[in-house]
Amino acid sequence: MVEHFEASNDATLTLPRVEQRIPTVVVDEAHVIYRVHKGAGGGTSPVAALRRLVTRTSAPNIQEVHAVKGVTFTAYRGEAIGLIGSNGSGKSTLLRTIAGLLPVNRGAVYTQGQPSLLGVNAALLNDLSGERNVTLGCLAMGMTPEDVAQLTPEIIEFSGINERGDFASLPMRTYSSGMAARLRFAIAAAKMHDVLLIDEALATGDKGFRKRSEQRVRELRESAGTVFLVSHQLSSIRDTCERTIWLESGVLRMDGPTDEVIRAYEAFANGK
């Protein structure tokens, strides 16, 4: 099922890199099974809940999802890797596993340093101003207060939230969803990460912000980090990643140079 491309090595050869390729993320036959609550449905009445307590059975509204089925690959320093696949193919689950937020049931995931996951639904404190959220976010990433004071104006400028008036001093609950996503990306991108995992974050925001963030992803990569990007917008993957991994129903379908993988993926998606 997995197709190997000799060319995948050639594509990364052209990158500026040190003599030996240094792996940053090693995924070895990883299986991820997680349990989801189906929400209100049958068997949620008080009597049923009491019976479950007495008989010590688990709630019937919990279902197991086998989201990632034996994925194996190695990511190296200085690579930007796109993750594509249909909805529900396990892309976001794989990212959360690499970030150490979901355990593997079989296999293993090894990482260098602590990968940072940047998702669109990552929440900060909505009652506080954008500026205070920047301070908190930076401190939460382990920066010193001096670094934070120095970086805050840069982060706010990068996010562009002050383009229409002084939004940085307003609470985050007054922001549009695009503005909030931009600010979150700006905060996470302020630090040099060994491994940065981006989940659809570049898709939000206007054209100007997309350009800036693509530029930033390139900088992060050159400073010897590895960037993973999950997106349904193939254009932003094509612009930022030279290697792409295609997941389909939890199985690694293809791993190789972006152009080839996207071509195969588009043929698959159109033929469906």
Partner: protein
């Protein structure tokens, strides 16, 4: 898929060997206890500013803003005084209003810290899933937020104590170690309930009742001399209740003629210190053991 077992065809290493050679670690692994304590210390600025932010945010939609920090304890004291001092006409205790408010404010510190701690993990899943920091920062920040509230309450309390005619004595200095011991106790307790609350979401519903029971067992609203009517072993058990000890310490420090259950100051200090150390260390270890599970699910 047999060929995928080799990560690098040139070197012939398996994935696990490749990871080991370059010093990669298993994702989401729990750090050692000392490493965890060191990281937590490095995050002290985050804890402080998170606690401040929470305090500001909790008043951000109220018109009177942070004035509520003082108004809330005042209103609380007024309501209880209305019932117990005025309607029920309790006469046993001299300076009942000061006696009541001391107990109320000291107990409220632990009560609010525990309530905030129960939700400090389960209510911040977004933050936990987005950023990596030692999770113990959150319950500790909850304790710190409540400590700042306590300082505001203490200003109110000292005002009440002075207005009701208590003299200023050297014993007032005892309030500082008493509050510090209670803060360490609260920090450990908050971490413990944070881990429990992260797993069992029903705890949030049960907690108010546990705390109410605890309050009645700590002699907040009535004279502690009532405990002396209990059988001897029960009285001794009540004397080991950490909240009773912290409240008695504060009353001993501030009030001149309040009835006390404990006979000696040394005994109160020893029990208070043992509780603080045991709960502080125990709560920290208990929380650390669950570190890799927070935010999953």
């Amino acid at each position: 898929m047999a060929d995928t077992a080799l990560a690098d065809p040139e070197t012939g290493l398996t994935q696990a060997q490749l990871a080991a050679r370059h010093g990669l670690r298993v994702a989401g692994e729990r750090p050692s206890l000392t490493a965890y304590a060191q990281t937590l210390w490095a995050y002290r600025h985050f804890i402080r500013s998170y606690a401040n932010a929470k305090l500001v945010a909790s008043f951000s939609t109220a018109k009177l803003g942070q004035l509520w920090q003082v108004l809330t304890p005042l209103t609380n004291a007024a309501v209880y005084y209305l019932i117990f001092g005025w309607v029920l006409q309790q006469k046993e205790i001299p300076n009942f209003i000061a006696y009541l408010t001391t107990g109320l404010f000291i107990f409220n510190f632990t009560q609010s810290a525990v309530l905030a701690g129960t939700q400090s993990i389960s209510g911040q899943l977004g933050l936990i899933r987005a950023l990596h920091f030692p999770r113990a920062s959150l319950p500790l920040a909850a304790t710190l937020t409540q400590f700042q509230q306590l300082l505001a309450s203490m200003v109110v309390l000292i005002g009440i104590v002075l207005v009701t005619g208590e003299p200023i004595t050297a014993e007032w200095l005892l309030l500082v170690p008493a509050l510090l011991l209670q803060s360490v106790f609260n920090g450990g307790l908050t971490m413990a309930v944070a881990r429990m609350g992260a797993k069992a979401s029903d705890l949030k519903q049960v907690m108010p009742f546990i705390l109410r029971t605890w309050m009645y067992g700590s002699g907040v609203l009535y004279s502690v001399s009532l405990f002396e009517n209990l059988p001897g072993w029960a009285t001794q058990l009540v004397q080991l209740n950490p909240m009773l000890v912290y409240i008695e310490l504060a009353r001993y420090a501030l009030l001149d003629s309040a009835p006390l259950l404990s006979t000696s100051l040394t005994q109160m200090l020893v029990v208070g210190t043992v509780w603080a150390v045991a709960m502080g260390i125990g709560g920290f270890i208990y929380f650390w053991r669950g570190e890799q599970e927070y935010g999953r699910g």
